[in-house]
Structures are given as C-alpha cells and as structure tokens.
C-alpha cells in the first residue's frame, strides 16, 4: 500500500467529499497507486504494484527515451485549439501509467485531477498496457465548490493496449456548473486486447465536449465505451465515442444512458467496420425528465461485406404504465420514478473490477439520494 496522500492540505472538506464522489480515496485504501494533480501541481505520484509505473508526464519522458514516440501520436497536436493549447505548454503536466508485460493490478490506480482555482488545468496522459498486462484506472476529476467563473480542464489522453492486454479506464466527473471540460483521447488496441472506457457524470458542468476514438487494429481486439450521464439545467454535454474496426474479429460496443432534467445532451457515436468479420453495436437510451434536450446521433459505417453493425436509439419519458406498476406494489410516485431511473442508469460493465463498479454505482446512488 503506498503512503497516504499527505500533501493535499488546502482541500476543503466539502471538496474531499466531491473527490470521494469521483472515486478518489485520499487514504489510498483499495488503490494500488495514485496520481494527484492539484491545478498544475503534481502533489502525489506513486505505485506499490510491481510492474506498474505511475509517473508525472515530464519525469516519465525523461526516464524513458522511447516514450516520446507515444506522445502526440494518437491525438494530433493541431487537432483543435485545445490540443494546440496543451502542446504549447512549456511545462506539460499529466501522468504516464505503464503496466509492464504480464503485470496485473487487482486494486486500481487512481488518477485525480483537481481544479481548485479559476484557471485552465491542462494535462497530457499516456497510458500503456504492454503484452498480457491488465491495467485498471479510475480517473476522478473534480473542481472545488468555491471555483467560480472561468475554470476549464483540457486533457489529452493516449492509450496503448498491447497484445492480449487490457485497460479499463473509468472516468467519474464532479465538476462545477461554471467549468468547461475538453478531453481529447484516443486508443490503439492490438491483437486480443481490450479497451474499456467508462464515463460517469452525475453532477452539473457548464460544458463538456469529447469524442474519443478507439482504433481496434489487432485481430479480435475489443473496445467498449459506456457513458452514464445526467444533464442538469445550464449544462451542455456533447459526448461521443468512436470505434474503428480494422482487423478481423475486432468488435465494439458503445452504450449510453442519458437523462436530462433541463440540460442539453448530445450523444454521438460512430462505428466503422472496415474489414470482414468485424462486429459493432451502438446503443443510446435517453430519458427526458423535465425540459432539456437529448440529441442522439448514432452512425454506423460498414465498408465491406461481412461487417455486422447495429444501433439502437430511444429518447422519451418514463412510461406511466411502468410507474404505476411499481406503485401497485406500494411505492409512491416519486419513489417509483426514482427506482425506475436508478434501474435505467444501472449499466453493469463486463470485465470491470468490483471496486470500480462500486465507484460507479456509488456516484449514481448519490445522485439518486438527491432525487436525481
């Protein structure tokens, strides 16, 4: 067990709760390693698991000469104004996590990006799972309750999933209603590799816009994106995920559960089946509880005979019949509605360690307790 994070003075108690909500455990219990960045300062970076490195970005680039070939390789520097902003930084921050060949972490690594001031927080992350390695990460991003206008988070993440390796990356966001967030991520998945990307946002945010891509270029590689979000009034969440299937047996699943109670949610998805023997499914289910917009844009693109791609999208309200079914068992209307919503958001992710599924469930449970 690595030592406790002891340099996090200055984080108010309410923000500690927000970090816990994002799956971050400051005592490090149940975590094999930890990276903690407060604004632009790395306050903690450690890992007790043999075979897994957790390093600040700059230090990692100094330590491993070869790493420079992995930086800005999947996400182009000039992709947009946010990538350019990060690329121009003289002191780049962020983390590098490398799971060496055959390593395996039962307890996840936690990466905490905490925004405590009104400023732009920028990070560049590189995550590598070498051949036969299994790496689980929970990335908790949160801003302080006192952060007012103008805060923003720009994050570049590049994932490399080696042969028969696995990376699960679970992002739980607890931003404030004045924060803008622009993650830019991409992954390469080699033969027999699995990339799981999970995104949970139950709390208000001013704007989030992302469209990560998984390039499944190895035979029998797998990519699964799961998103569970609630759009509150004033929030705009433009969330996409893309899978490019370019090797036989490659498959992808893109699942979204979106609820709005006044916010705008754009749920994009794109699966491209480029060779024979590929398979993909895209699913977006949206509930409009009160006002708000859910705009689902599923795209499936088959380029050859022998790719099987499907999509399912549904946006609507909770059926009266379902609410009354539960009421007939004795739940009042409010409880019946909350029980149905909780079920709607209950996405069980295959291959995710229990600890991370519990973090996801707990973020949703907290939203349930506050009446969604």
């Amino acid at each position: 067990m690595p030592p406790e994070i002891n340099n996090e003075q200055g984080i108010p108690n309410e923000d500690r709760e927000r970090l816990a909500l994002s799956g971050i455990n400051l005592s490090l219990a149940g975590r094999c390693g930890s990276y903690f960045q407060m604004n632009q300062d790395v306050v903690h970076s450690t890992c007790s698991e043999e075979g897994i490195d957790v390093l600040p970005y700059s230090e990692a680039l100094k330590r491993y000469e070869w790493l420079k070939d992995y930086a800005w390789n999947l996400v182009p520097k000039d992709k947009d104004e946010y990538t350019r902003y990060v690329a121009e930084q003289k002191e780049p921050q962020g983390y590098v996590i490398i799971a060496k060949k055959g390593s395996n972490n039962i307890f996840p690594v936690q990466a905490c990006l905490y925004l405590g001031r009104e400023q732009v927080q920028h990070v560049h992350n590189i995550i590598i799972a070498e051949e036969n390695a299994e790496l689980h990460i929970v990335s908790g991003c949160a801003s302080g309750t006192h952060v007012g206008r103008g805060g923003a988070h720009y994050g570049i993440s590049e994932f490399y999933v080696g042969k028969n390796a696995k990376i699960s990356f679970t992002m739980i966001h607890t931003w404030g209603q004045e924060i803008e967030v622009y993650p830019r991520s991409a992954a390469i998945v080699e033969e027999g590799g699995t990339f799981l990307s999970n995104y949970v946002c139950m709390q208000p945010v001013k704007k989030i816009q992302m469209y990560p891509t998984a390039h499944c270029r190895g035979r029998d590689s797998v990519a699964r994106f799961s998103s569970v979000v609630i759009g509150t009034p004033g929030s705009t969440m433009d969330l996409g995920s893309r899978a490019v299937l370019s090797a036989k047996g490659a498959s992808a699943e893109l699942i979204t559960r979106a609820i709005t109670k006044g916010g705008t949610i754009i749920s994009r998805g794109h699966i491209s089946g480029q060779v024979e023997g590929t398979k993909g499914h895209l699913e977006c289910k949206g509930l409009i509880l009160k006002d708000g917009i859910i705009y689902a844009i599923p795209e499936i693109e088959g380029k050859v005979v022998g790719t099987e791609l499907t999509h399912e999208a549904a946006v609507g309200k909770i059926a009266r019949e379902e609410i009354e079914y539960l009421m007939s068992r004795g739940l009042d209307e409010e409880m019946a509605t909350a029980t149905i919503i909780r079920g709607f958001l209950d996405v069980k992710i295959t291959g995710l360690p229990d600890a991370l599924q519990r973090s996801i469930d707990s973020a949703i449970d907290t939203a349930e307790k506050s009446g969604f």
Binding site: K285, E321, E324, Y325, S328, G330, L331, E333, G343
Partner: protein, 243 residues
C-alpha cells in the same frame, strides 16, 4: 372487504364497464369469467386505480373506505395486490432490486422466498425482460408474496403456464388466500379471472361471475358456471341467463 357500486369505467373516452355492482366479503374468493374483450381486466385495473381507466360514475369502497379517487400506491398500502397478465418490462430495473425497494426485506429473505417459486436465478435480471409466460407469473406471485395483500386480484394466473408450474403457482396462490385457514377464520379475499378454471383446484372459490360486454350478467357456483361455459360456450350461457 370490497364493495363496488354502480361503477362505470371508460378507457380512451369509450365506456367499457357499465353499472358494475360487486360485493366481496372478508375471506371470500370470487371468480370472474367471460369472453375475451368483455372487460374483466379493465375491472381489475380500475379497482387498483390505474390512470388509463377513468371512473365515470360509481364508487369503490375498500375495507369500508371510499378509494374511488385514491392513488394506486395508497390502495396497495391499504392491502390491495394485483397479479398482472402482461406486466411491463422495465429496462435496467432488476427483479431483486424491485423486491428490495417494495418489501424492505433483507437480501437473504428475498432469496429464500424467490427459491420457493424457482425465481432465485432471476433476481439479477431486468424485470420481465425475456421472461417466459410461466416466469412472468412466478415473478408476479413472488412480488405478491412479498407484499402479502389482504385482497388479491389475479388476472389469468394460469395462462401460459405449464402443468408443473400451475401446481407451484396454485399452491402459492392458495397460501396467499389462506386456503389452509378454516373458512370462518379466513380474512383474505380474492378476485380471480380465469378461462380454464385450473386455478379452482387450488383455492376455495365461493362465487363466480360472468362478464359480457362490460356487464356482469350472472352469478353462481364457479364450477357450475365453468361447466356450462365448457359445454355451451358464452353465447348460450348468456342467452340462457337473459331469459
């Protein structure tokens, strides 16, 4: 237990039930028969208070209290329970979670009860998603067992159920209706819709009613009515009674 007077019910602006009068006393189980589309399920849904079923006239009294305009859950909390013929599928909501939310029982108690109706393997499945006819009925009876209502409404409990499971379901329904309790001491009441009458082997049904075109046309011994219907069909049964 239940007293229905001059009840008129409409669905989508059309009157389906006309002038229904029905009195079910404590400890009594009544059986409702009638051709498809005659309004039997509508009556059960109206008694439970579902919003699609609009009460135009008349009253429903339950345990002496007027519940005609009462919300569904208030009726459930007062002791009404219903087994649906076609319950909705609720995406993501696990049967086990629903039972925990409605019964407040502990996980091991739920599991033990689920085992008695062979539903322990279904607790982690979305409610009613991909359930067979028999599984739906077993899920419904399990929910009723948790609820333990004083007045049980069953909409075709034997339809789509194989013979082995009819026995299992019938036994549980018998328990819910206190079949093992002496008639004089029996408190639980029931209203059961049946086409086949198989369920009559498992409950003590006191009175049968035949519903046609939204009206209760006749009353009598459940087995005698069933025998007549089997022999002559609903049309003759109805004509006979109208003479």
């Amino acid at each position: 237990m239940l007293e229905i007077s001059d009840l008129h019910v409409e669905v989508g602006g059309k009157e389906i039930l006309h002038d229904i009068n029905l009195n079910i006393r404590d400890g009594e189980t009544h059986v409702l028969m009638g051709p498809n589309g005659s309004g039997k399920s509508t009556l059960l849904m109206a008694i439970m208070g579902f919003s699609t079923f609009n009460i135009r006239e008349g009253t429903i009294r339950f345990k002496g209290e007027d519940v005609t305009q009462m919300p569904v859950h208030e009726r459930a909390l007062r002791g009404m329970g219903i087994m649906f013929q076609r319950p909705p599928t609720i995406s993501g909501l696990k049967l086990g979670k629903l039972l925990a939310a409605t019964s407040k029982k502990k996980e091991d108690e739920i599991l033990a009860l689920a085992r008695t109706v062979n539903m322990d393997q279904f607790l982690s499945r979305d409610i009613n998603r991909g359930f067979s006819g028999g599984e739906i009925k077993r899920s419904e009876i399990l929910q009723l067992m948790m609820q333990n209502p004083d007045f049980v409404m069953l909409d075709e409990p034997e339809s789509g159920v194989d013979l082995e499971n009819i026995h299992l379901l019938g036994a549980r329904i018998g328990n819910l209706l206190e079949k093992e309790v002496q008639i004089v001491n029996r408190k639980k009441s029931g209203l059961i819709i049946t086409h086949t009458g198989y369920i009559l082997d498992y409950v003590d049904a006191n009175i049968g009613h035949v519903m046609c075109d939204g009206e209760i046309k006749c009353h009598g011994s459940p087995r005698e009515i069933l025998k007549e219907i089997k022999e002559r069909g609903y049309k003759e049964c109805l004509e006979c009674r109208q003479k």
